[in-house]
């Protein structure tokens, strides 16, 4: 069986290809190749006109195979498959040949060589399509269930958007309370609201959607199996030790004799072993920190059976069609001695400073000392020349100026800003302007000569070579130095369970920043908020809603379609040796008795189409659909055929 009427379409890619590859020569070199009915070139094959041209040719010339030579199939393979489908041709009688990355870009300085390579690649595609057969996509049901990992602002936003459509949301949070990093923030820009106020607003909505949102706090994902449409997730809900309502929790907390550093306030205050991170935290039940608790029973004396110090972890199985990561970020932790951090008492990070603002009343005090002058040092743990944090953390400039403004307005603090570039982008520029107007002093340093912090009496001295005054050395005595720390990616185990790829910067990698900004390379796995890259709340909630939008297109429709590229066994050739069963890492092949003979069978739902079994089979009895031995041999032969001048 040979597809003998193949259309070949060579794209200029608006010069990306045609500046290097002679596309006219490619067309000429393939138009008389076996089984080619028509060969054409065009400026943008993916445009409306290009697509229309292919569609018309399929209909008018009765094509039974199509080759498009253009960019990477990652970009447009599905675009062109849809063209075939529209024209009534099976979409898998198509081969996408990448002559942009593989020819034009790889051999920029050798146009002739690039052209020859393009010809060989296109011919190989023609040969492959000539032996292709019609395939049907695998339809996967998508029951309306989703797992969202992380109940910070992004996770909650995404959960709400979907729950309102009647979709069942499993929202898993590792801490005992929701709200994530935002709850710890002081004034959020641009609304000016306190972080906990924002979370309160969302929690109010969350309560209304209780019937569709299952919230698991103190919970972690233990294992994930399956694939898009059919993820099977096991979670462990760690004990809270507080099991039901009681109106005497405040008294129980007061009676608790244990005090530990409060991580919610970045260790600047202490809390009890039974605690709320802040008033109004959600869920309303306090939690007991068993690492700190000595089981003295004081709280039980007050609250009785509302507290169960012997509560055990619980495991639960969840089904989900889609998984969204909203696992957030960590603030960069400066190294000891970095700008005096942990070396001098009054060097704190921006998140600590924000907590200090939230906790202070009347005057700004730290460790018993009033703070009147504060210096902020920017880009700590961001834009590093050496080191792993080469990226800009995006939110810190505006967040720092915003916090400085609040410190100035609330406590009359004078602020000095030691920066590299002020990146108060967009409308946030007004914060920069307002700070300058209010007397904030800005000094610019070069990364080659970073500021130095020393101590003199009860003051810290910030020594900076200020570029704005053409390199003048300035010494600023202050009461406190605030390090404007960046965001660093979290490496969580769940990410490895699903093999979600990381970007160079260590954050999770999207498929394409513009075309598919919230999807990952793993089907059915989406990313929301700052786990993808540093983002502020506005951008985090927008991206969270975008994941909900993406998920809704699957979950409202109830199904999705996957590529049909899985393996099939030729029972006549199969000798039942079982090598394939051992080779398959997904457990997708099993041996069954057929009339007394053992034969391999493929479990189609779990086959990933990796082809490992096809490679190991000594009889060539296993073929990967869309990449059969026949097709690959024809492809190689065509590629090696001489290209005449």
């Amino acid at each position: 069986m040979v597809n003998d009427k193949i259309g070949v379409y060579v794209c200029h890619c608006g010069g990306n290809i045609s500046d290097v590859v002679d596309v006219y020569k490619v067309v000429k070199a393939v138009q008389n190749f076996p089984n080619v009915a028509v060969a054409k070139e065009f400026m943008f094959m993916c445009s409306d006109q290009g697509q229309q041209m292919i569609e018309d040719d399929i209909k008018e010339l009765g094509l039974n195979g199509v080759v498009v030579a253009s960019c990477s199939p990652h970009l447009h393979e599905t675009t062109f498959r849809k063209v075939l489908a529209r024209a009534g041709l099976n979409p898998f009688l198509f081969e996408h040949i990448n002559i942009r990355e593989h020819a034009a870009w790889a051999h920029k300085h050798d146009p002739e060589g690039a052209t020859e390579k393009a010809i060989r690649l296109v011919r190989s595609g023609i040969a492959k399509v000539s032996k292709a057969r019609a395939l049907e996509s695998i339809r996967i049901d998508m029951p309306p269930q989703i797992l969202i990992i992380g109940a910070g602002i992004a996770g909650i936003r995404s959960a709400l958007d979907l729950a309102k459509l009647g979709i069942e949301v499993h929202l898993v949070e590792q801490l005992p309370f929701v709200g994530g990093r935002i709850a710890q923030g002081y004034g959020a820009y641009p609304s000016g609201k306190i972080g906990t106020e924002l979370i309160d607003e969302l929690v109010e909505e969350l309560k209304k959607e209780k019937s569709n949102i299952h919230l698991y706090t103190n919970a972690e994902v233990v294992s994930i199996e399956g694939f898009i449409g059919n993820f099977e997730v096991e979670i462990q809900i760690n004990p809270r030790y507080v099991v039901k309502e009681c109106d005497k929790f405040d008294e129980a907390i007061e009676k608790c004799p244990i005090e530990v550093l409060d991580e919610f306030n970045y260790g600047m205050t202490k809390r009890k072993a039974i605690y709320y991170p802040y008033p109004n935290a959600y869920p309303e039940l306090p939690a007991i920190d068993m690492n700190a608790c000595n089981k003295c029973g004081e709280c039980v004396n007050v609250c009785g059976d509302a507290i169960d110090l012997d509560q055990k972890p619980e495991r639960k199985k969840i089904k989900a069609s889609i998984i969204t990561f909203a696992t957030g970020f960590d603030p960069y932790e400066p190294k000891e001695g970095e700008y005096g951090y942990k070396q001098f008492d009054n060097v704190v990070t921006l998140p600590q400073f924000e907590r200090l603002l939230a906790l202070s009343n009347g005057k700004l005090e730290y460790k018993g000392k009033e703070i009147k002058d504060v210096a902020f040092i920017y880009c700590v743990g961001s834009r590093e020349r050496e080191g792993e944090h080469k990226y800009c953390s995006r939110y810190c400039c505006t967040a720092t100026i915003n916090a400085a403004l609040a410190a100035n307005q609330k406590f009359g603090v004078r602020t000095f800003h030691v920066y590299r570039d002020i990146r108060t982008y967009g409308k946030y520029e007004t914060y920069y302007e307002e700070a300058s107007k209010n007397g904030a002093v800005f000094l610019k340093f070069s990364p080659d000569e970073p500021p130095e912090i020393t101590q003199s009496g009860d003051k810290l001295i910030v020594k900076v070579k200020d570029q704005l005054t053409f390199g003048e050395e300035i010494e600023i005595p202050v009461d406190m130095v605030v390090l404007s720390v960046g965001m660093v990616p979290r490496k969580t185990e769940v990410v490895s369970m699903l093999r979600v790829p990381y970007s160079m910067d260590g954050f999770l990698q999207e498929v394409h920043p513009k075309l598919r900004p919230v999807e990952t390379a793993i089907g059915g796995v989406l990313i929301a908020g700052a786990c993808q890259a540093p983002k502020d709340t506005v951008e985090a909630t927008a991206s969270a809603s975008a994941t909900a939008a993406k998920a809704s297109t699957y979950l409202l429709r109830g199904y999705t379609e996957l590529d049909p590229f899985i393996v099939e066994v030729d029972a006549e050739k199969c000798t039942g040796c079982g090598d394939c069963v051992e080779e398959c890492m997904f457990g997708s092949i099993e041996l069954k008795d057929v009339n007394g003979e053992k034969k391999a069978f493929v479990i189609e739902a779990t086959c990933r189409g990796c082809g490992a079994c096809a490679g190991i089979c000594p009889e060539e009895a296993i073929n990967l659909r869309g990449y059969t031995y026949d097709q690959l041999r024809a492809q190689i032969d065509a590629m090696l055929e001489e290209v005449e001048e």
């Binding site: 990306n16 993916c46 445009s47 290009g50 800009c392 970007s503």
Partner: protein, 432 residues
């Protein structure tokens, strides 16, 4: 035909929002005021920080939008009146401007264009070259249909005679159609800053001072001259300067905010010169380099490593020499000198200004604007696409300057908020 959602604006944000709504099963009416969808993005060369060609990303979105069974596109149409008559009920009046070409009959063969004797500046190329009065807006237009610009037409009738399908119709009249929709998304984008307003930089007076969108066209794959040439004498420029923050962060123009994209697009253009004009020296005069998005700082570092010169300083003045060269005067903050450098060409990195006229169409409700004239998102921290009117959402640059990834994310956010709203008003999607 009844529609669930009207999306106003067919740029990247409008297309993206439409596609998501349509994929979820809703009927979308997409109204675009110019003759083709594609917006500003289709005009661009390559896009930062991935250096993908803009056309390669935009044209398939345009095709997907045009081919989607759940999307109806009205190009060359303007939304004139919108009445909110209750939750889930908006009555809208849309003006169909006459193309003087019967769209169903036009086959896009361009014979009218060849026959037409009159040239006027081509909008799509920012006037760098001309177009005919009977014309297809640009090569990749969608729909790829002709129209006639009657203001400049001399009524010679040549196009009519050349058209093989009798598609030309000079008797077409403006027409107002009325539709009912359940929700509205505003995705009207931005207007580029008018560089003439910044008089000291001489745009409009000095021939070799151009703005960055013109440079986008000079660098684009479908570029008008297939080369970067300076306008005065067609010389290939050796020395090019970029002036950042033109029309942004400028209180003298009553526009104090930053446009978010200019630092990066200027850096990108400078990087593109390394292949377009490998010998050219490029200097970028900036106030702060704002490389804040994913991969941006790395992109900026790459530009520095490639030898692009970044100088901190706000350009005070540009003067033109007799040979067309330009002298840029600036206080160089890096070394404290007053620098006067001569360049073959100066590119003004113009900012993004509001395009909010659409709010005037809302007759019985008022859409709130922010102090700078953009549509105001009312609960930005928790839900950035809501406007003050329930059932009306905003996405992309209509709400303030932003780059393409942020616009795409917001477009999807607007789509889901819209779907949530449609559920609330009882318009659940019918699952097939």
């Amino acid at each position: 035909m009844s529609y669930d959602v009207m999306v106003i604006g067919g740029g990247i944000a409008g297309m993206e929002a439409s596609l998501t709504l349509a994929d979820a099963g809703y009927q979308v009416l997409l109204v675009e005021k110019s003759p083709s969808i594609g917006g500003k993005m289709i005009e661009l060369s390559k896009v930062f920080p991935t250096l993908d060609c803009a056309g390669c990303i935009t044209t398939p979105k345009m095709a997907a939008t045009a081919n989607h069974p759940n999307i109806t596109i009205m190009t060359y149409c303007e939304v004139q009146e919108i009445y909110k008559e209750g939750e889930g009920k908006f009555r809208v009046k849309i003006l169909k401007k006459p193309r003087y070409v019967k769209v169903d009959d036009c086959i896009g063969c361009q014979r009218c264009e060849i026959a037409c004797p009159i040239f006027v500046p081509k909008e799509y190329e920012y006037g760098l070259i001309g177009r005919k009065v009977a014309y297809i807006p640009f090569e990749m237009a969608s729909p790829r249909k002709a129209l006639i610009d009657l203001d400049n037409c001399v009524m010679c009738g040549r196009c009519e005679r050349a058209c093989p399908t009798d598609a030309i119709d000079f008797l077409q009249q403006p027409e107002v159609v009325e539709e009912e929709v359940k929700a509205v998304i505003i995705a009207t984008g931005f207007k580029p800053f008018d560089a003439c307003l910044k008089k000291e930089y001489g745009y409009g007076r000095y021939k070799n001072v151009i703005h960055a969108l013109e440079m986008e066209r000079l660098l684009a794959p479908s570029r008008p001259y297939n080369w970067v040439l300076r306008p005065s004498d067609g010389k290939v420029p050796d020395r090019i300067a970029y002036v950042l923050c033109v029309g942004s962060r400028d209180k003298s123009l009553d526009f104090p905010i930053c446009s978010r994209v200019c630092c990066m697009y200027s850096t990108k253009q400078a990087i593109l010169f390394t292949s377009a004009l490998p010998l050219a020296d490029v200097t970028i005069y900036y106030m702060d380099i704002r490389a804040f998005g994913k991969g941006f700082e790395e992109f900026y570092n790459m530009a520095e490593d490639m030898g692009i010169r970044f100088v901190k300083g706000k350009v005070a003045k540009i003067t033109e020499k007799e040979d067309g060269n330009l002298v840029v005067r600036v206080e160089n903050i890096d070394d404290g000198t007053i620098e006067e450098e001569e360049y073959d060409m100066v590119v003004l990195s113009i900012g993004l200004t509001p395009n909010s006229e659409v709010v005037k169409a809302f007759k019985n409700v008022e859409i709130e604007l922010d102090p700078f004239g953009f549509i105001k998102p009312v609960s930005e921290n928790t839900n950035p696409v809501l406007t003050n009117v329930k059932g009306v959402f905003v996405a992309g640059c209509a709400a303030g300057p932003k780059d393409i990834p942020d616009s795409v994310a917001e477009a999807n956010a607007a789509a889901i908020q819209c779907i949530d709203y449609l559920y609330e008003v009882g318009a659940k999607v019918v699952v097939r």
